[in-house]
Symmetry: C2
Subunit: 178 residues, 2 copies
DNA sequence: GTTGACTATGCAACAAGGTGCATATAACGT
DNA sequence: ACGTTATATGCACCTTGTTGCATAGTCAAC
């Protein structure tokens, strides 16, 4: 599983406490891999036991103390190994498509509202991503590795939501008049 | 969860034994929802307890006997209710993107082979789907609900793999010369 | 001084999914 | 007789993910 590896990637970028990792997973990296704080706090001790991360208690003033984790050399090795390991594409799992198939039996009107809802959700995300693309990458992907990877992440989001919006449009045309 | 509902959809199309359901999940409907035979045989008694399916033992000659499940009226009601229930898009979970982000730290050369591998996999699937599209839907989606839903399923596959192939191409251009 | 928001960390129970193992009937080829 | 393949059904264990609950420090506002 790759929650472990997603955490390693984030810690390789910069050491962090569990709380901070959760907030990162709520934003940037969370677009590709979700994690609740309960999962996070369960996983970090396991990574420490495996020797992939080290932990240090850091007293704070004005806030509760925190435990900061950092990736170890062994962790970096494990991460590099995982990067090269062949992992199949994530198995597709689309409940909306199951619903469409159900609609073939029970009647298309059951799912039309759902398709419209999904179209709206994807269109919103798409607009947001395109705006970020214009604002931050209007003049290209940039030269440094980090910038390019951020750009590619954004592009994957754009392409993903684009194809969903298009599919919803095709589906609505085909199913609205049956 | 929607394994239950995916099974209901399949049984609404036609009654089947666990074994037959597994083979359906290995082909058509399995493109949207995967299920192992262990999952299937665990789930079917639960559906029966819930009153959503009925079971009948059918003796066979030339093969082991089988237990055939059929959807009940209560099951059809539950399915119709689920079709209308708002369900969010599946949360994105892309280990390849996590790898790309890792590559920003550890070096792009670690993931280039992976991206090429994924491109090949998606391109193969895409070619297959496009061929089916030409052969079976060359003259349009058809008039009946079932045909249109099959066409839409196919279209989602085409759009999905198309956008992946495109992303891989963009990624290779950006990452190959760093 | 109490309430709410933010920071910070965790446990327990349960649901879902994956892996490995186990069993049995029956046809077919060799 | 013997192994192979297809049909047919299941258990046990483990990992992963979700949900609900619990605790505690600090600050600002009221």
């Amino acid at each position: 599983m790759s929650l472990k590896h997603a955490i390693l990637v984030s810690l390789a970028e910069r050491p962090a406490s569990g709380y901070e990792l959760v907030s990162r997973f709520d934003r940037s990296i969370g677009y590709f891999w979700r994690a609740s704080h309960q999962q996070m706090y369960r996983e970090l001790p396991k990574l420490q036991t495996a020797g992939w991360v080290s932990a240090e208690d850091v007293p704070q003033s004005g806030k509760p103390d925190k435990r900061v984790y950092a990736i170890t050399d062994a962790g970096r090795d494990a991460l590099a190994k995982w990067l090269r390991a062949p992992v199949g594409p994530e198995p597709v799992r689309e409940s909306l498509m199951v619903k469409v198939r159900g609609a073939a039996v029970l009647g298309a009107d059951h799912v039309l509202p759902e398709i419209r809802r999904h179209r709206a959700l994807h269109a919103d995300k798409l607009a947001l991503f395109r705006q970020i693309e214009r604002e931050q990458f209007g003049d290209g992907a940039g030269d440094d590795a980090t910038g390019r990877c951020r750009y590619l992440a954004l592009r994957s989001g754009v392409l993903y939501h684009e194809s969903w919006v298009r599919w919803c449009d095709e589906a609505l045309v085909l199913l609205e008049r049956v």
